[in-house]
Symmetry: C2
Subunit: 663 residues, 2 copies
């Protein structure tokens, strides 16, 4: 079944450097066997050798003090040596050697230690067991069906799951949740009669150092008909979950834990019983604690039935208002999973103030690799730079700790989580270039300080360049991909909602423009544009007070018009169209300029790609797939440009200073 | 299966006056048996007698010169006499006597002749054989599933179909199309292997004087796999349709004909072969002509993939531009079926100019009983007054012929058609008060000059009043229903899109407000609101020239701001918000005022209805059903008021002169 699946960043050709060497592998069993298998495959392909002989080019072994999942890597006297702190560390070190390619076997280099910055590096799949009538097989999935489930049954394409696990391991991912956080009746049974199917998947992930997690329904004891309550303080409920946890761990000894979306967008939760989130999370945590696994409790809680007329309610405040008062109340094996921004994975949001507000709670930051609001894998939108900004944000200002530091804290860090963009599409991710997002996410979770453009280059170097014959100059292809992708997130931002105001997408499917689509709806996502101005006043002085949820200096930086960054201006302030940005442009002229520029950049992207046609630098089928998506991106970007510009021209009456045609 | 279906305007109690009399019925066979059966049932219930004796109170017979479907009715010397021109005429006369109730048996009254003004009085069902994933069982249906089909099979609830036919006959309807004009693969087979199922339905309608029609797919020969072309000038295609027509008429001797939606919203048609609508319609007409049946060819043809940026294309022009040049080219048994307005069944539209533009073509006018754009049977919206205005419209001005005159013309009139609002709901129409629309449509098709409020009163008199015990005063109930329903269309208009501009509904489902929902879409339905004004310039002087499609005086009346009626102002003109209407209000103040008033009227409607609770004047279950719908109407009207007012306040910046709160 997996014959035709794209190799992504692990084409056989990427293993040429290793595969032509004499390699010694001193590890066995479990993940160690995976390392040995990788070496044997590479050497089988390219004529190298695997053995215990003294003379060798590469030594792979376990020991020393590199620590859990860590490794040391260096080259001396013509021998490259990787010493894993454990087998998983060795596997990561092996993939490091693959990334280095021939450079791993050139001049000697100093031995250095490598460890993942974040303990948990996780992908959540929003996969349904059956096709949901509205949300489909994979909620917010743009890459076909689930790779795990189909028609209510396990898909059992285990070679594909294995290939997926291998790709993830090569980026450093060590945790996966295999079902949607919106847990319907069918998925609730993964805890019971479907547990064998889950264990089968866990067996595939395990050799790649990846622990399996399950999303669970907080009301599972009721949904399954065992109890009449899911009250977390009810002893019978606690016992039910303890028994469930025992059963899961008996089937999956290294089970990672539960992911829970509770009291959010209609999902059940502790509120129904007058209990707190801490009550709910801690009850589940107690069930898992004896087994050493964890609860990922999502902080995405807000009123999704808000009255749009009520300007005092601010969805951005909701997660902080719900959770910050409970800091210190969560058990040690509860990880509060916080979306990076206060709203919902928009192209541009400020960092969620919750992340800095709960020093006595373990926090994970949640990103979205699947491009729900960033072009749905029909648009090129490389998200590495956005994630890098988020991870590098310092809530207490320069010199203070960063978001990455908090997520990495040994005591209170909960790691990095993202929603996967993978489906049963032959290119894994629908848009072949969207593979870069999956790759970059894993690598940033390992090293949040990495340069996202360097990671993109790494991805290009693994995915495309090894396929070129040795007499081809790889630079034109590399340059083209960088030209298309480096700034693609900002390009997408330019032609969509301006200056951090967010949304303006078609309700429901979240694709394409609809400026007022959410404006009079109950979802709490408004821009308040009128004939004079636009934006949401979230100041303490005159607005919802949301700026007060940040520590200094940001609390004041965002509060004051003068210091608020342009790109977030309309998230924090309602300003007249004539307000002059730091850039020197008025708000309305900025809207016009960026929308013309963004759509032009999309067209230029397509132009660059068409120049590759017939060059043999990329596979013809992949070229065609990308081109088809670029056609749609160019069309859609033009639609965004025209709808947004027409909307603001009609509303403001201010003509474009450069006299361009606005319909 | 039909035990629990509401009796609508034919409750047994409505037959009391007839049922207590001595009745002589001098007719038999076919529809005559239906008359006899009605009398026998009534007399069996209420103690009257049916016989041939000399002494009698009511004589029902056929003969004389009342003509096809006509009858004469009078009372002399204490004997009421109905003489039908044929059995169908007698049936209509009988129901006339039922409507009169005791008045039919009081003082003598002059004998008068009655004939239907329109030859064809037709209801089209947009029923699908299988549930369409988007449109459901009945397209634009708000009353549950189809009464004809379910899960791809005939529903075979023939008692319900019979009850439906009887209700229709009592209003004067004589034609029904039993499947959706969007003809999918399953419905295409109604012409072939499913023909027996259709004949079964025709057998049920026949005793009520109703001929059955089928909607057909223009590409049926291709869809069914018989031919590779549906080119109307291809001899094999013509033969295919001739054979199909022969087959249908063999199974259904009185088959009414085909209904065709061709080259419209994605349906196939003659354009694919470079042929005209006349080519297509005439080919089908030739197949039916030997059998005396007809083609109903819909004029609802426009570009539904229009570029919203292109202001030169005007959907309102489309039907005229397509069809007027073909006047005189259609065969005698083609009826061009024209929607009453140029757009699509909006709450307020001008009358379609096509109706006055084709003197050498048989034209039927199409109305919509199902409330797609008028509240979807969740809102009380009695449409009789709207239809009455349309039918009374005189395209050539005072003294000229009316729309009803044209539809009734013996040579070129094609009758009146409407989309049914009936489903398998226990009240037939979802909202029990929506039955009044079905009733009024049939009665107006019989007599377009009837006063719509008198028809409403007639409906109340049949539906509600006979159920009251004789000691109850019926006036309070009658007054309440009139208070709620008489002006309900104008109330609905007040709180929805203003001044004839149309749409502003949620895309797709067409329910509830979304002012910009269709503004940047390909459907050709725009309002062009900006900060200065609103409306569509359809003048000859500066706009799309649509006003030029009307004869005088309307061509000039609509062209000039001074003479254009307020209620259609924004359909024809783009004006500033400060433009002063004939009413004396500015456009924007009119918007505020009508929206506050409309929502208040909806609330008052509910208030009136709640006063009936517990009085015993209406059935408790029906009261509850109506109240539940009124709750939704009041909620939705408030949403319309607030969204429309907020939209225009934000856009115009003009405050409400009366200082009311606009969110």
């Amino acid at each position: 079944m997996t014959t035709d699946v794209h190799a992504a960043w692990l084409p056989p050709e990427a293993f040429r450097a290793v595969g032509t060497r004499r390699v010694r592998v001193d590890v066995g069993g479990g993940v160690g066997d995976t390392v040995r298998g990788e070496v044997e495959r590479a050497c089988g392909e390219y004529g190298g050798s695997v053995g215990d002989g003294q003379a060798c080019d590469l030594v792979l072994e376990v020991g020393g003090d590199a620590g859990q999942e860590g490794y040391v890597l260096g080259r001396r006297d013509g021998v490259t040596r990787v010493v894993g702190g454990d087998a998983a560390g060795l596997l990561y070190g092996f993939f490091h050697v693959v990334r280095l390619g021939e450079d791993a076997f050139g001049e000697d280099f100093e031995t250095a230690a490598h460890r993942p910055a974040l303990r948990t590096r996780m992908l959540d799949h929003w996969d349904n067991l059956t096709v949901h009538p509205v949300m489909g097989a994979v909620e917010r999935g743009y890459s076909g069906g689930s790779i795990f489930w189909r028609d209510g049954e396990p898909l059992r394409d285990l070679p594909r799951v294995r290939a997926y696990a291998r790709l993830l391991a090569a980026t450093g991912i060590n945790a996966v949740a295999v079902n949607n956080v919106n847990v319907h009746a069918a998925e609730t049974r993964l805890l019971t009669e479907r547990l064998g199917d889950v264990a089968e998947l866990a067996d595939v992930f395990r050799p790649y150092g990846i622990r399996l997690h399950l999303s669970v329904n907080f009301a599972a004891p009721v949904v399954l008909g065992d109890l009449t309550t899911a009250d977390p303080l009810d002893e019978a409920v606690a016992q039910w979950w303890a028994a469930a946890a025992d059963r899961v761990h008996a089937a999956i000894p290294d089970f990672g834990g539960f992911v829970v979306k509770a009291d959010s967008e209609g999902q059940p939760g502790p509120f129904a019983y007058g209990r707190t989130h801490a009550d709910g999370a801690n009850m589940l945590a107690a069930a898992l604690a004896p087994h050493g696994s964890e609860v990922h409790w999502r902080a995405f809680v807000y009123n999704h039935q808000q009255d749009w007329r009520d300007r005092t309610t601010d969805r951005a405040r909701a997660a902080y208002d719900h959770f910050a008062p409970q800091d210190g109340e969560f058990a040690d094996n509860v990880v509060l999973q916080v979306k990076y921004g206060p709203i919902d994975f928009q192209t541009r949001e400020p960092v969620s103030p919750v992340i800095a507000a709960m020093p006595r709670t373990r926090l994970a930051v949640e990103l979205q690799v699947t491009q729900e609001y960033t072009g749905q894998q029909r648009h090129v939108c490389y998200l590495g730079p956005m994630w890098s900004e988020v991870l590098g944000f310092r809530p207490w200002g320069d010199g203070g700790r960063s978001v990455a530091d908090l997520a990495a804290d040994p005591a209170t860090g909960g790691g990095l989580v993202a929603v996967s963009n993978v489906g049963d599409d032959p290119y894994w991710t629908g848009h072949p270039l969207a593979q870069a997002n999956l790759y970059a996410f894993g690598r940033l979770a390992w090293d949040p300080g990495a340069d996202p453009l360097a990671l993109l280059d790494e991805w290009i170097g693994l995915t495309f360049l090894p396929l070129l014959s040795r007499d081809r100059d790889p630079e034109p292809l590399r340059r083209t991909l960088h030209a298309m992708m480096d700034g693609s997130w900002r390009t997408y931002e330019r032609y969509t909602a301006p200056l951090g105001v967010g949304f303006m997408v078609r309700p429901g499917n979240h694709y394409g423009p609809d400026v007022d689509g959410y404006e009079y709806q109950p979802w709490g996502t408004y821009h308040f544009a009128d004939r004079d101005g636009i934006g949401v006043d979230r100041t303490r002085a005159t607005g919802t007070g949301y700026t007060g949820q940040y520590p200094q200096p940001w609390s004041d930086v965002y509060e004051e018009l003068d210091s608020c960054p342009d790109e977030l201006l309309l998230f924090f302030h309602h300003v007249p169209y004539g307000h002059v940005l730091h850039s020197g442009a008025t708000v309305v002229q900025h809207i016009y300029d960026t929308h013309f520029a963004g759509a032009d950049e999309a067209a230029a992207m397509r132009e660059r790609w068409t120049e590759l046609a017939g060059t043999g630098l990329v596979d013809a089928a992949l070229h065609a797939r990308v081109l088809e998506r670029l056609d749609e991106q160019v069309r859609c970007a033009g639609e965004w440009r025209d709808q947004v510009n027409a909307y603001f021209l009609r509303k403001s009456g201010v003509p474009d200073a450069r006299g361009r045609r606005i319909p």
